[in-house]
């Protein structure tokens, strides 16, 4: 049986290898970017996402569905980004300022400067607030899916989001 979800062929008969290949094609880059925004470390981001795909490969027997698999991947990426943030190597890279990000060439200098200021402020937020903001404002997920990815209640998502925005505002005003 083959159905189409968001333009992707979902075949109940996929084995784990086929599923991982299809999921990779459709979602790998987006998930790496998600992890990079959570981690502010693009080196670690790919590792985290690859870990999540390996986990999904193992879990495919239970998932058997692209939407479930994507939710699982996202939750795993968020969860593992949290773990990765605790790792010393990440902290050290941050201390060196080497986060592996490419210099931005595609945007104007003003946008870039403002983006840098916002991203620096975002980095200073507590992890939960940063997760809520990235999932909501970059991944454009509805509240319920943010809650699922973060493994918290919808009420907590509201709290983290509003506190995150307030802290961001304060931080940006301080910079000015």
């Amino acid at each position: 049986v083959t159905v189409t979800v968001e333009g992707i062929r979902v075949d109940a008969g996929w084995d784990a290898d086929e599923a991982v290949t299809e999921l990779y094609t459709a979602h790998y880059r987006g998930l790496v970017r998600l992890a990079a925004l959570l981690l502010r470390d693009s080196w670690a981001a790919e590792e985290v996402v690859q870990d999540a795909f390996v986990a999904t490969h193992s879990a495919w027997g239970r998932l058997r569905d692209e939407e479930k698999a994507l939710a699982y991947l996202r939750r795993t990426v968020v969860n593992r980004s949290r773990s990765a943030l605790r790792r010393r190597s990440v902290a050290e890279r941050h201390a060196r300022g080497d986060d592996g990000f490419l210099p931005s060439a595609e945007t104007g200098a003003l946008t870039r400067l403002d983006a840098d200021a916002v991203l620096v402020a975002l980095r200073g937020l507590p992890p939960r607030q940063r997760e809520a903001l990235v999932l909501r404002y970059w991944a454009d997920l509805p509240e319920a899916e943010v809650a699922e990815a973060m493994k918290v209640s919808k009420g907590s998502v509201k709290t983290h989001t509003s506190r995150g925005l307030a802290a961001l505002r304060t931080s940006l005003e301080t910079i000015r």
């Binding site: 870990d51 390996v54 986990a55 773990s83 990000f101 940006l172």
Partner: protein, 241 residues
């Protein structure tokens, strides 16, 4: 006012996302890792809940690794100055909830002086659960070795840290063969230079406060060939090889 901030945030996140370099070899890396996992697929137990306890008590391990075995033997790390614990074998039940008795405060900085004695695997009370069944605490392992155990954790995912002198030096994100409420099996492989290490398998609380909802810890030595638990002999023969 919030609208403006939200708009700035969206722009900044888009810029940040676009800056992320992405290597082109992700799929190959994933495939190389999943290829190694295929043989584990057949472990996945689909057990009726009622059968779980009996199986655990019987010590039936679905995860059969090369040197799999339940912990429960008194061992002394080679570098440990023998102080209190006997080196004689004392078999503990695999379900016993005894903690490490010879490693006061379980402080990794005590290694290599830490004296490790019988460490039973944590007691499975049916909730979130992680145990390390191999290697045994105090065991001597090859540089590349497999850590395996059982787990009943959310979405079958948890973390295994290797630390030395209080510093985490390696972290593996592990997926058990089944997620809660099923009891799954798991294994992960590390390659470590000579030395004494602490291995922590744990699931963090979803509360995000850093607390652990399930964990198990073993201390091992890497580098010397696995041999009988006579530590001194193992150390001296290591140099000969």
């Amino acid at each position: 006012m919030n609208d403006e901030l939200e708009s700035r945030l969206r722009d900044a996140l888009r810029v940040g996302a676009e800056r992320t370099p992405i290597a082109g070899d992700g799929l190959q890396k994933i495939r190389s890792r999943t290829a190694g996992r295929r043989r584990h697929a057949r472990w996945r137990p689909t057990l009726a809940a009622g059968a779980l306890t009996a199986l655990v008590v019987a010590g039936v391990a679905a995860a059969v690794e090369r040197d799999h075995g339940d912990r429960g033997t008194d061992l002394v790390l080679p570098a440990a100055p023998v102080t209190t614990a006997p080196t004689a074998t004392a078999t503990a039940s695999p379900t016993a909830s005894t903690g490490p008795t010879g490693c006061p405060s379980m402080d990794p900085s005590l290694l290599p002086g830490c004296h490790v004695t019988a460490t039973g695997v944590p007691k499975d009370t049916g909730g979130e659960y992680i145990s390390i069944t191999s290697p045994q605490s105090g065991g001597v392992v090859h540089h590349t070795f497999t850590v395996s155990g059982r787990a009943r954790v959310f979405e079958s995912q948890f973390t295994v840290d290797v630390s030395q002198n209080g510093m985490v030096i390696k972290t593996a994100h592990v997926t058990a063969s089944a997620g809660a409420p099923e009891l799954g099996t798991w294994s992960t492989t590390f390659t470590l230079p000579d030395g004494n290490y602490r291995i922590d398998a744990y699931e963090l609380s979803p509360k995000g406060d850093g607390s652990k909802v399930a964990s198990d810890t073993v201390w091992i030595q890497a580098g010397s060939p696995p041999g009988p638990p006579q530590a001194t002999a193992a150390t001296s023969s290591a140099n000969a090889r």
